[in-house]
């Protein structure tokens, strides 16, 4: 077969335009500032949540003020499972931006860090990281991420005015919690004892996920056994409690009337305006709530999800998100990206984040402080962190096994569609797929 000159010319043209496009995209940053020696622009990918975007932009601004030759461009992506897909796809196609923000723990393990991410183990700032956090961004003994944002508590946010009006005490056991709910319901005024917002399904999981401190207090080796397929939600009495609590709240009629369709902002509104008393949620939403309802900084408090034993009650913690550099970042951009990580993981970086909005909890960098005007709900987390043994990491940071359907299952259990025991068994089936996909031993 002979190539006709026309055809090969066309092919040549196609190839040329491809390389041309690649070149111009790569060199845009430097050609813009021909005068400034070595001006670099790096792109930082974060989620499109209001607070995250504000935080990212503040970080970019403050970083640029210190390193005038480096500009950080903020790009956003959706959160949740949709975001997981974007991260995985971009990594596997080599199309990732220079620095990106992603979860730590089990989701971090799922993006094959050894293959896709640059190890930052030798950076000096790694020594200043909180050990709990470091564990969640480590794979095969190498640290891969810098913390962005603070720790988050999975806890119950409560309305202080409602508590004061009815003379209630912060509960430390589930029985006390339910007794409070009964009094709130009897107190009338249309106040919903427990706010649930199944219109946004992830918010339904807190009774289960936020209960993990109580699970590990009762069964200290649960996480290990769970990873090895030796412990199950349905058969461990302590772990099953979370599902039972979800059901109990529905069975007793303590949920707000529109629980099935309400969304997170509705829930926050109810809490901030005293129309709802308790909202089991992540403390990460506090900043958003205060941005809309400034009074909530004083009128909303926080307590850990109550378990059976008051003496062992404690807070379940989510570690901050991680900042990662993909292996595809090279040259000047790589140096700039490393500097950016070092900035974020420094007291200056923390201060910059605090400037962008109320923190979600204490920072994971030594030497960082929260500042004086932190909201009441965040302040309420500190005693749990200060007291030894009164806080532990959520299961998703201790075990790579996390099923994708928990939020649908807890919606079913909390809506009375499915019983707690059945829901737990179904979740056990769900995590099996995840464990198999990860190729864990014993599944």
């Amino acid at each position: 077969m002979r190539f006709r000159p026309g055809a090969s010319g066309l092919a040549l043209l196609a190839v040329c335009s491809l390389t041309l496009a690649a070149c111009s995209a790569g060199s845009l940053g430097s050609s813009d500032d021909a005068g400034g020696s070595g001006a670099v622009e790096i792109t930082y990918l974060t989620t499109n949540q209001d607070q995250d975007v504000k935080e990212a932009e503040q970080l970019a601004k403050d970083f640029h003020a210190k390193n005038s030759n480096i500009t950080v461009k903020v790009e956003t992506r959706p959160g949740g499972t949709e975001g997981d897909n974007i991260i995985k796809t971009r990594l596997s196609t080599g199309d990732m931006v220079d620095v990106f923000n992603y979860n730590t723990g089990s989701l971090f393990n799922a993006i094959a860090p050894q293959k896709n991410l640059l190890s930052v183990n030798d950076e000096p700032w790694v020594a200043n990281l909180d050990d709990n956090f470091k564990k969640t961004v480590t794979a095969d003994g190498q640290v891969y991420g810098a913390p962005v944002g603070g720790f988050m508590g999975g806890a119950v946010l409560y309305s202080i005015p409602v508590y004061e009006k009815l003379g209630l005490k912060v509960p430390t056991t589930w029985a006390e919690f339910m007794a409070n709910n009964a009094k709130i319901k009897a107190g009338g005024g249309g106040v919903a004892p427990v706010i649930q917002t199944y219109g946004e399904t992830w918010t339904s999981q807190l009774f289960v996920l936020g209960d993990f401190h109580n699970v590990s207090a009762a069964e200290p080796d649960f996480a290990d056994k769970y990873t090895k397929n030796q412990a199950k939600y349905a058969t461990s009495p302590a772990a099953l409690k979370g599902f039972e609590h979800t059901q109990a709240v529905h069975d007793a009629g303590y949920e707000n009337k529109d629980f099935a369709s309400a969304k997170l902002p509705d829930g926050l509104k109810m809490l901030a305006t005293g129309k709802g008393a308790h909202y089991p949620i992540l403390s990460g939403v506090v900043a958003n709530m205060i941005a809309t309802y400034p009074d909530a900084a004083k009128t909303v408090g926080l307590f850990a999800l109550p378990g059976d034993d008051a003496s062992k009650n404690g807070l379940t913690l989510w570690t901050p998100g991680g900042l990662y550099i993909p292996k595809t970042t090279e040259g000047d951009k790589l140096d700039a990206a490393k500097k950016f990580l070092a900035f974020v993981a420094s007291p200056d970086g923390c201060a910059s984040q605090t400037k962008a909005g109320a923190p979600t909890g204490p920072y994971a960098v030594k030497g960082c402080t929260l500042g004086n005007d932190v909201p009441r709900a965040i302040k309420d987390m500190q005693p749990y962190l200060d007291k030894p043994g009164a806080s532990s990491l959520a299961l998703e940071f201790l075990s790579p096994v996390k099923g994708p359907s928990l939020e649908q299952i807890t919606v079913e259990v909390g809506s009375g569609i499915r019983k707690a025991k059945d829901g737990a068994a179904r979740y056990d089936e769900d995590v099996k797929k995840q464990a198999q996909q990860l190729g864990l031993a014993g599944w």
Partner: protein, 308 residues
């Protein structure tokens, strides 16, 4: 002379309907003419199809794959959501397809009659077909909100307490099906209008002379002569129903819980969770199911048409 007279006969023998046994088949195009499309076809369709058959037998991530035999299919059929999704898919397809046939035919009869503003009314019925499915889904999600939605608000004025259209497990699937019918009935109507308009006027006139009323002429003339249109509507809307996804995802994401999940949304969720092998297996199953339903149905409906 012999040569020239032999050629036309050759041509007759080798019509596409009756290809010659071992002899050379005559085609108007050379082999090279087919090559580009053949290459495109195999790269874009054949290779992915067979690759997906293979990958459904593996546990793969974007980085590697591991052969595990039929495990994915076993897991998929053990997935409790699948059984629910399966029945939901069938219910959804039958309900939407049936409603579109009935409503489409009735609307077509109305819109082929002599009414004021016929052209305008025809385009109004067809409008929802043109609107983005996701947009329609999100809009109805707001309209159907049990507390603040306009639908329950209107019902409340009449003194009726409307259900949680999308939040009550008993209603969710049917509410989505209703929206699907609203959105898709325009296309069915259009096909029926074409069918009805093509019926020769003489039949109707002859029937009227014979003393047939409107019901009789509808039942004896319009209905049977619209059979090709009916077949098209059924097949199109059934396939559409079996693979429906966007509307369901936009309105409930399969919820509450798993109560409005269909096969496509189950498959999508497995992809989202990163269970790529499992979802590939799900797609193979969907392919088999759609083929198993549509092939015999289309054969059955088309045979009836020939008989008549």
């Amino acid at each position: 002379m012999t040569v020239t007279s032999a050629r036309p006969q050759d041509r007759v023998d080798s019509t596409p309907a009756a290809p010659a046994g071992g002899g050379k088949v005559y085609t108007p195009y050379s082999f090279w003419f087919y090559l580009p499309t053949a290459v495109l076809y195999s790269v874009l369709f054949l290779v992915p199809t067979f690759a997906s058959f293979y990958y459904s037998l593996t546990r793969w991530s974007l980085f590697e794959s591991k052969f595990i035999g039929f495990d994915n299919f076993v897991t998929f059929f053990q997935e409790p959501a699948l059984v629910k999704g399966f029945t939901n898919t069938l219910i959804y397809a039958v309900v939407t397809s049936g409603s579109k046939v009935v409503l489409g035919l009735l609307l077509a009869v109305l819109l082929t009659s002599r009414i004021v503003g016929r052209g305008y009314l025809r385009s109004v019925v067809f409008f929802p077909v043109l609107v983005s499915t996701v947009g329609v889904g999100l809009l109805f999600q707001v309209l159907m909100n049990p507390e603040r939605g306009i639908i329950n608000g209107a019902l409340g004025v009449l003194g009726i307490q409307g259900p949680g259209w999308l939040t009550d497990p008993k209603w969710a699937l049917m509410s989505i099906a209703a929206v699907d019918v609203w959105k898709g009935v325009g296309l069915a109507t259009l096909i029926y209008i074409a069918g009805i308009v093509s019926i020769p006027r003489e039949y109707m006139e002859a029937a009227r002379v014979d003393g047939a009323g409107s019901w009789e002429s509808f039942r004896r003339i319009v209905l049977p002569l619209c059979k090709p249109a009916t077949v098209t509507v059924i097949i199109l809307s059934l396939i559409g129903g079996l693979r429906s996804f966007e509307l369901i995802w936009a309105m409930t994401r399969g919820g509450p819980g798993f109560t409005s999940d269909v096969i496509s949304s189950v498959i999508y969720k497995q992809y989202q969770a990163g269970f790529y092998g499992l979802s590939t297996a799900g797609n193979v199953i969907l392919f088999v199911v759609v083929t198993a339903i549509i092939l015999p149905l289309s054969w059955f409906l088309n045979r009836k048409e020939v008989d008549m």
